[in-house]
Symmetry: C2
Subunit: 173 residues, 2 copies
DNA sequence: TAACCTAGTGACGCAGGTGTAGTTACGACG
DNA sequence: CGTCGTAACTACACCTGCGTCACTAGGTTA
């Protein structure tokens, strides 16, 4: 076991443990384009995928969507939207999925407006919760998964930026 | 076409139009126990299923869940909960589905508490919206679907009961 | 009673998502 | 340079949720 530090990002099997999915799923999601490792793709049997910290968060979002009974298809659309409209400030708001579109709601009021306005079903993903969740899971496994502590992680504090009085609201589809 | 009034409830193909699903789906959902017609079950090729008004509303809920990308599996659990905990006062609250349990949230505050408290994904179904929705759809098709105007319908007004200051909150699983 | 319309039934098939298992190949170490 | 561990690849199979289509059987009307 060589000294950690040279590696960046997380490798496939490790990601599975952190996120709580099977390797088969991770593989399938890569091949079908749901989410491919942004640091290093697989290039044959002997190689290995390398996922960034953000990748892990996104994967965890997908996992939670699945757990709550959302289709992979719907998750795909949600992730597409997420990638387009969320920058590096993960945990900034709530991701709200309607029947045909996705929205970012910054605070509770916006959320209530959305829920009151539309007559359909909404799937709500509290992003900050997911980010905290991922952090905990990494720490818990940290003892075992000694190597590959990511430099892609945006430093332990910076994720905590609270939402200001901005009223921006992205929308897609 | 005999004078309407002798019949009660809605027959299969009609329900499909109102709810917006295919006959195959309705059939499948009956056979697999998701929702069977509460007024009359099918008893052979020549017979016909008879659905109550509440059945139609529930079916519409399922349909909207599907549209928003929720699995049939999850919908099954949701409907089980719905049947157990919602009486005849449909449209009373919001049906909130978490990863492992279902909840009825009466007002916006309860909703926000739920969303803030849990760190998972939530699927929110505004029941009053669904009831209105069904009503409109029946009216729209009413001109064409002349027959079988249900007596199971709880009279055009009585559904509108507003939620009082009660703080009951059912929960399952 | 024969002809029809309507609605439920059965069999078949397909696609997506995933488990299982065996195979292959990179990279490290002796 | 051979061996080994690990991770990715391939093939197969299964299960759910339907679409399609041909078939069957009440009920009604002629």
């Amino acid at each position: 076991m060589p000294g950690a530090g040279s590696e960046q990002g997380y490798r496939g099997p490790q990601v599975c443990k952190i996120v709580g999915i099977t390797y088969r799923q991770l593989d399938h999601w890569d091949r079908t384009g749901l989410l491919r490792p942004s640091l290093a793709a697989a290039r044959g049997s002997g190689t290995q995928r390398l996922y960034s910290y953000k990748d892990v968060v996104v994967l965890r979002i997908i996992k939670q969507l699945l757990d709550s009974g959302v289709t992979l298809q719907r998750a795909r659309k949600a992730i597409d939207f997420f990638r387009d409209s969320v920058g590096d400030d993960l945990a900034s708001a709530n991701l709200v999925l309607g029947a045909s579109d996705s929205v970012l709601a910054r605070d509770g009021d916006e959320l209530l407006d959305l829920l009151r306005g539309g007559q359909g079903v909404f799937n709500v993903v509290p992003l900050s919760g997911v980010v905290d969740d991922v952090r905990h899971r990494i720490v818990e496994l940290g003892a075992e998964a000694h190597e590959a502590t990511a430099t892609a992680e945006p430093a332990p504090e910076s994720t905590r930026q609270q939402h200001g009085p901005t009223d921006r609201q992205a929308r897609a589809r």
